[in-house]
């Protein structure tokens, strides 16, 4: 009963399983088809490995996921069960509610590792040049040890690098972290910010021009928010002229 609620009602039984710290986020990674431990972990860089391990065990006990020993190589592969897949609409509903109603972002919400991890899943590689393209990001306002990242698109396979990948950089992106995250979330218009040089691109002219089309942004970036406050109004993505901020 330590973690339980002492109630037989289905809501509390569900909350017991799902409303512990990090749990829904782990499930969301599994819903995105992350299946290896480190794959999940990269999508949750602020979670400690030991806690992730513990949560995976609990979710297995609760019947939300199954783990299978990997035949070639070490470790396990994690997959949602039917019970876990049934959580898709709930997880999505949480995200929508968070988008519509959650508080504004603060500095501590801005982990650049998470931002780049998100980007590597949502690059529109069909619009990128064939062959290999190397993007470099440099975020001011981020901790010194994770300011710079690289995304390498190799014919549709995108890899995220925390250290220089060795290849020549094709396009370099320099921005304040908060500004970039707000573009990603849809609170600012990416093209506006580039035009205003708050996001600075360096590289061949045609790549710089195409760059905004490569970023698919956060899935909910186009959704209207309902909550009031500074970020209430969505950036109109097609606005040709914009007010100064």
């Amino acid at each position: 009963m330590s973690r339980g609620y002492g109630q037989y009602c289905p809501l509390s039984l569900a909350a017991e399983v799902l409303c512990e710290r990090w749990t829904l986020l782990v499930v969301s990674r599994l819903l995105m088809n992350c299946s290896r431990f480190n794959e999940i972990h990269k999508g949750l860089p602020r979670m400690s490995a030991s806690l992730l391990s513990q949560r995976l065990l609990q979710l297995e006990e609760s019947g939300v996921l199954r783990r299978e020993k990997i035949t070639d190589g070490r470790g396990y592969s994690y997959h949602l069960t039917e019970a876990g897949r049934d959580l898709a609409s709930l997880v999505n509903g949480f995200a929508v509610w968070g988008h519509e109603w959650a508080r504004d972002l603060t500095q501590s919400d801005l982990d650049p590792r998470f931002l780049v991890w998100s980007m590597h899943l949502r690059l529109d590689t069909r619009k990128m040049p064939a062959g290999r393209t190397v993007l470099e990001f440099d975020f001011s306002g981020a901790p010194a040890d994770c300011r710079r990242f690289w995304l390498v698109n190799d014919n549709g396979e995108v890899e995220m690098c925390l250290t220089h990948p060795g290849f020549d950089v094709d396009l370099s992106v320099r921005s304040d972290l908060k500004v970039f995250v707000e573009c990603w979330r849809g609170f600012r218009d990416l093209r506006n910010e580039i035009r205003a040089r708050r996001i600075k691109l360096r590289g061949p002219r045609d790549l710089k021009r195409q760059f905004p089309d490569w970023l698919l942004l956060h899935v909910l970036a186009g959704h209207e928010r309902k909550r009031g406050g500074p970020e209430r109004t969505l950036a109109r993505r097609s606005a040709k002229y914009s007010s100064s901020d």
Copy 2:
């Protein structure tokens, strides 16, 4: 960042607000139109008052509820905001998932105070005799200090009493707590259990006969469960003969 996740994504911002212990249960009580502190608290008898107070403050800060000073009398009245009402489908989704997939019940899930609180909200008073009807419940397998309860229906107004209300008892119900809860959840058939005398009624013949129609049971009692296990199969409510258990 202590309670936060260090991520800007809407899912983690929502989880930050909603995935703390007890929080969703508090919201669910507000969705049931409980508005006074003690009204909410009676629906969550295992939650400490200080924690409820704290959660109400947090939910107000997060914009999920608003509190208004009561003009006549003490204390506040709590009401969901639009953001809070938007949680209705999520809370319901959690309950459905819990019904379909959650683990089996253990002894510590069976708080009789919670059971009786649930019943007082789901008595079909239209089917009960006009005037006043007093039901007495005596649950074996419950802690000594909360074995007996009374529900008083007074022309459609149902009150739950933890001490003898003073009026004469019209119908007395005696049962093992677990058996009764399993009827309430829909895992057993109420009429079967009465027929098998695992639930014993005492009172006038016509009240005994009508009693099963008064209990509306848990909202999800009729839903099929998806999870395997001992309680997998729903009791067929109309089964005329049943196996011994």
